[in-house]
């Protein structure tokens, strides 16, 4: 059998077993290219060209000569196509004997694979499953990537929906259904967050005045209407970052984060009361209410104690109510002294 025949048989065998290979002669020129490697080389056939002019050997770092290349026999090669899109390749080569018994004398056979770049390569070179050896896992890898992406997408959508449902449920749990304001349950988380971030804030206790008489004379529908209007007015008089909580029937707590100025507190309280005192139309009737406000400032305390602050805001509220309706009072330490002399303030505000 002539050398040519031997090689033809060898090449046919290689084309089936590893279609992305190249056979190089002793000078490093490609004498045969597997059909898939041929596809990678584009319009110019690789045969007759120097292999290292087509492909750059990134690692291991060796010289450009054929002797250097043969030294890399058996090692894992990291290569890159020199032409765009400079696809990354993995490879391994075997050195051929100088007898010429297998392939060209002193040549090498290089087998290549895409490794992780397989997805891009399939797109860039329009490869089909026929371009891979039947034993190659490339197709399974592509299948897995697609299948997993589809499954991930379904999971991602589920997570988004669950998160949306969770947020809605939390909103609902913390919302006062009549007014749309926050409810008592929402107060602690808001205060906890302020304490954690060590931000100063103002606590304002607000009780409606004359609300009971609206309820008694015009009925519950009027009362509900008034509460809704009150909520609206309070929202429009405050900033979006402020928190308004309806803690009970006609009792509210307002939390102003970042507020430390007593004059500003008085100004806000005055404005709120003025706004709430404007008549609220209900059918042919006009409802007139007012509000009393007691406030405490976190910046007045060396060590902020939430319970103390709430008690003090309550204390200020009673002082305000003592002065008549429609008043606002900001707590100071003198009040605590006066209170201690008078005895404890009743805990239940409704009792008064």
């Amino acid at each position: 059998m002539s050398e040519g025949h031997v090689n033809t048989a060898l090449y046919a065998l290689l084309d089936t077993l590893c279609p992305m290979h190249a056979v190089l002669n002793a000078t490093g020129h490609v004498v045969h290219a597997g059909p898939t490697f041929e596809k990678l080389c584009g319009d110019t056939a690789p045969e007759g060209r120097r292999f290292l002019e087509l492909v750059e050997l990134k690692r291991p770092k060796l010289g450009a000569g054929m002797k250097d290349l043969r030294r890399a026999a058996g090692a894992k090669l990291h290569l890159e196509l020199r032409a765009a899109p400079r696809t990354a390749l993995k490879g391994v080569l075997v050195a051929l004997p100088d007898s010429g018994a297998i392939g060209p004398k002193n040549g090498v056979i290089v087998n290549l694979s895409f490794g992780i770049s397989v997805m891009d390569a399939v797109r860039d070179f329009s490869l089909t499953s026929a371009d891979f050896a039947a034993t190659d896992l490339a197709i399974e890898m592509l299948y897995l990537i697609e299948a997993k992406s589809a499954a991930m997408e379904a999971s991602r959508k589920l997570n988004l929906r669950l998160q949306g449902a969770k947020i809605a449920a939390e909103e609902q749990a913390y919302t006062d259904t009549l007014t749309g304001l926050k409810n008592r349950r929402a107060m602690q988380p808001v205060l906890d967050r302020l304490m954690e971030t060590e931000r100063d804030f103002v606590l304002m206790n607000l009780d409606l005045d004359y609300f009971k008489s609206v309820n008694d004379t015009l009925g519950h529908a009027a009362g509900d209407h008034v509460l809704q209007q009150v909520a609206r007015r309070m929202v429009s008089e405050t900033r979006s970052g402020d928190t308004i909580i309806r803690t009970g029937g006609d009792e509210f707590v307002l939390i102003f984060a970042g507020l430390t100025d007593r004059d500003r507190v008085a100004e806000i309280a005055g404005r709120l009361i003025a706004r709430l005192e404007r008549p609220i139309p209900f059918g042919d009737e006009e409802c007139r209410i007012s509000a009393s406000i007691g406030a405490s400032l976190s910046c007045d305390y060396a060590q902020v104690d939430l319970d103390q602050m709430m008690q003090d805001a309550d204390c200020a509220l009673y002082v305000a109510k003592d002065q008549g309706r429609g008043r606002h009072v900001t707590f100071d330490k003198m009040m605590r002294l006066a209170r201690d002399m008078k005895g404890p303030i009743p805990q239940n505000r409704d009792a008064r």
């Binding site: 797109r123 299948a147 589920l158 929906r161």
Partner: protein, 198 residues
């Protein structure tokens, strides 16, 4: 039954017969929800009830509904991803047939808790095969009918002309006869390996 299976029934109904039909079915069954979540699991009984109500609503025998679902899974544009995953099975219809044994395993690679019935292909001649379809978990849904619809649509996809015949049940398994009349009857639909990236 896995949410993906229930979701497939839902998508089939909505894409083929419209949202009203689907919401009507779910309202009559009063399950407390109107949509299935693809990544959750549901009681087998629910799947069975939905399919039963669907067959009644369409005034069609259950096997016909299941066959239509199988065809829908491959041929509807909304499920292109699934068609692609099936086409990874082989370059022509015969290769695809031979990949069916691996299908439940492949499905589990992607979604570990999705269990599909076992499939076993036997070739009697170059153009004559039989496919044994194992029981679905729970055992109340005849997956063979779904497979017939799916195989018919896949044959179309590959451009092959086939004759499929449900030979009935043998014990717990169903037998489907596949006769290949022409592997290259029509040009079929294109399958571009890299399409998902484009």
């Amino acid at each position: 039954m896995h949410g993906l299976v229930n979701r497939a029934v839902e998508r089939f109904t909505r894409d083929t017969y419209g949202r009203e039909m689907w919401l009507g079915i779910m309202q009559r069954l009063d399950l407390g929800f109107a949509e299935f979540e693809a990544m959750l699991s549901y009681d087998d009984e629910i799947t069975h009830e939905v399919l039963g109500e669907l067959a009644v609503s369409l005034n069609k025998p259950m096997t016909e509904v299941l066959e239509d679902i199988g065809t829908y899974l491959v041929s509807h544009g909304n499920l292109e991803a699934l068609r692609r995953l099936l086409r990874f099975g082989g370059t022509d219809f015969v290769e695809f047939l031979h990949s069916l044994d691996d299908l439940p395993g492949r499905a589990q690679l992607a979604v570990p808790d999705l269990s599909l019935p076992t499939l076993e292909l036997e070739d009697h001649a170059r153009d004559y095969y039989s496919l044994t379809v194992g029981p679905m978990a729970g055992g109340r849904i005849a997956f063979g009918a779904v497979m017939i619809g799916l195989l018919r649509a896949m044959a179309d996809d590959y451009g092959a002309l086939v004759f499929l015949d449900h030979k009935g049940k043998r014990g717990k398994v169903e037998i489907i006869e596949v006769r290949l009349l022409d592997v290259a009857f029509a040009s079929g639909r294109a399958f571009d390996l890299g399409a998902a990236l484009r």
